[in-house]
Amino acid sequence: MIQLFHVYKHYLKGSAALEDISLQVEKGEFAFITGPSGAGKSTLLKLMFLAEMPTKGQIIINGYNITRLKRSAVPFLRRNIGVVFQDFKLLYDRTVFDNVALSLSVIGMPKKEIKKKVWEMLKLVGLQHKLNFSPLRLSGGEQQRVSIARALVNEPAILLADEPTGNLDQDLTLDVMKLFEDVNIKGTTVVVATHDKSLISRYSRRVITLEHGRIMEKQ
């Protein structure tokens, strides 16, 4: 469960990115965050997995108040959260396999198990034949799918996806959304930030709309 209480985020330089955000995403919920470019979607997700700290307010993830969390506890909280980054954040000097395996390596899973899980995950996003490529050798959409695979491979309790289909064609977009729905059915809380109106209208899910750092409407 994700709870935000009167959260503000001001970056050092520049105006407020988020202002007075209060919201609650239940365990197992599927929510879209939308809004125009620069509205604060990515910032909101960044707060949720502790990439940024709020300027003001309280954030509670899975029962932990993350503004009070000890530094050393951060990695363990993050292991329950899979993240698809808007800019992919892949390691270009590792193979596709290694990139996806990363989330499993850090929790000390045995090699054999990692191999099996990564292969299955890559197959789900249609990249099993590019296993040993560097992400540098992949197209934009392929890189995005590697990023998605990495976020999902350790079956996290929460999935945060930032513009996960920006580089995907319609067929792949549907495939990826199907994937998200599947993990959602298995109990994972899913939060997807997107500017794609057609995507949102195709799925009748909760939509949180941001504009200039404020929540506009809830549904």
């Binding site: 951060v74 990695p75 993050r78 959260i81 954040k89 590792r94 990363l102 989330s103 850090v106 000390g108």
Partner: protein, 302 residues
């Protein structure tokens, strides 16, 4: 424990890190090797200069000229008295006859000037060998003066001025040695910590991403620490190999050519124990360098 269980992961991650930054790693290792080699060559020079000085120092002695006509009993008495001095290593008696042959030996080749010198004109004397600490303390003069009061001794000579200079020179060489050696060591530390920092710096994306997927600091740091240790070990190993070549093809030959002139002690290669100590120290240096750098980029960057 996780760390132990995943040892192969850390080793392969380190190996991948080195491979992906091969150029940087090779340069780092060469730089470390060069720096250590400079230190070692300097060390050899220092040891030899020191050896020369210590050799000279061994030749410093006090000569006590005896009064004419002292009997051999009196000589024994004086010798016995001198041997009680804590600062005196040994005493040797030269009779008038000995004195003349010594004098002849010293002036060998200039036979012409010796024609008029007979046994009678030279006094008998005692050569007093002093302990090293006296020379290092610069108190040879004091010791000599105290001998002057002994019954039967006419005059005392000890190369006034020269002994003091030797002590000063020894101190100076030691100071210079420590100063320059320390300086080079400091330079090596800067270079090592710099290169390890570069290595971490060039992988800061990787560090960021590892943090985002939930890696602990320890997990991120370990391969870097291993890399730092490996780098410095390789660099040091290389420098020892290079040093051996320098020793084998330069110093060793030099020693055989001019050895007796410059060094009293043999120039020997580092002993196994010394090499071991150096490698352990190097590993620690790499670890500390990597740890400090890692601290800056990994731990303090949450």
């Amino acid at each position: 424990m996780l760390i132990i269980k995943r040892i192969s992961y850390f080793m392969t991650t380190m190996a991948k890190g080195i491979a992906s930054n091969l150029y940087l790693n090779v340069v780092t290792i060469i730089t470390i090797a060069v720096a250590f080699l400079i230190l070692n060559i300097f060390f050899v020079i220092y040891r030899n200069v020191n050896a020369v000085l210590e050799g000279w120092q061994g030749r410093i002695k006090i000569i006590a000229y005896l009064q004419d006509g002292v009997s051999s009993q009196q000589v024994s008495a004086i010798e016995g008295q001198l041997k009680k001095y804590g600062n005196i290593k040994g005493v040797r008696f030269y009779s008038k006859q000995d004195a003349l042959s010594e004098f002849r030996r010293e002036l060998k080749g200039q036979a012409a000037i010796l024609s008029g010198v007979s046994q009678n004109i030279l006094p008998a004397y005692l050569v007093v060998m002093v302990r090293d600490r006296v020379i290092r303390n610069g108190t040879v003069g004091k010791l000599a003066d105290s001998l002057r009061g002994i019954q039967g001794i006419a005059d005392v000579q000890y190369g006034q001025g020269v002994t003091e200079r030797f002590s000063e020179m020894l101190v100076m060489v030691k100071m210079l040695g420590i100063g320059i050696g320390g300086f080079i060591l400091f330079a090596i530390l800067i270079i090592v910590s710099n290169t390890i920092r570069m290595s971490i710096f060039s992988r800061k994306d990787e560090i960021e991403i590892l943090k985002l997927v939930g890696a602990t600091n320890m997990f991120i740091e370990l391969p870097f620490l291993l890399e730092g240790v490996t780098q410095v070990l390789c660099g040091t190993g290389l420098s020892i190999a290079l040093l051996y070549l320098v020793y084998r093809f330069f110093l060793y030959r030099l020693h055989h050519a001019f050895g007796s002139l410059i060094v009293n002690a043999h120039i020997v290669f580092l002993s196994g124990g010394t090499i071991g100590t150096i490698l352990v120290a190097a590993a620690m240096l790499g670890f500390v360098g990597a740890f400090v750098s890692a601290g800056k980029f990994i731990r303090h960057n949450d």
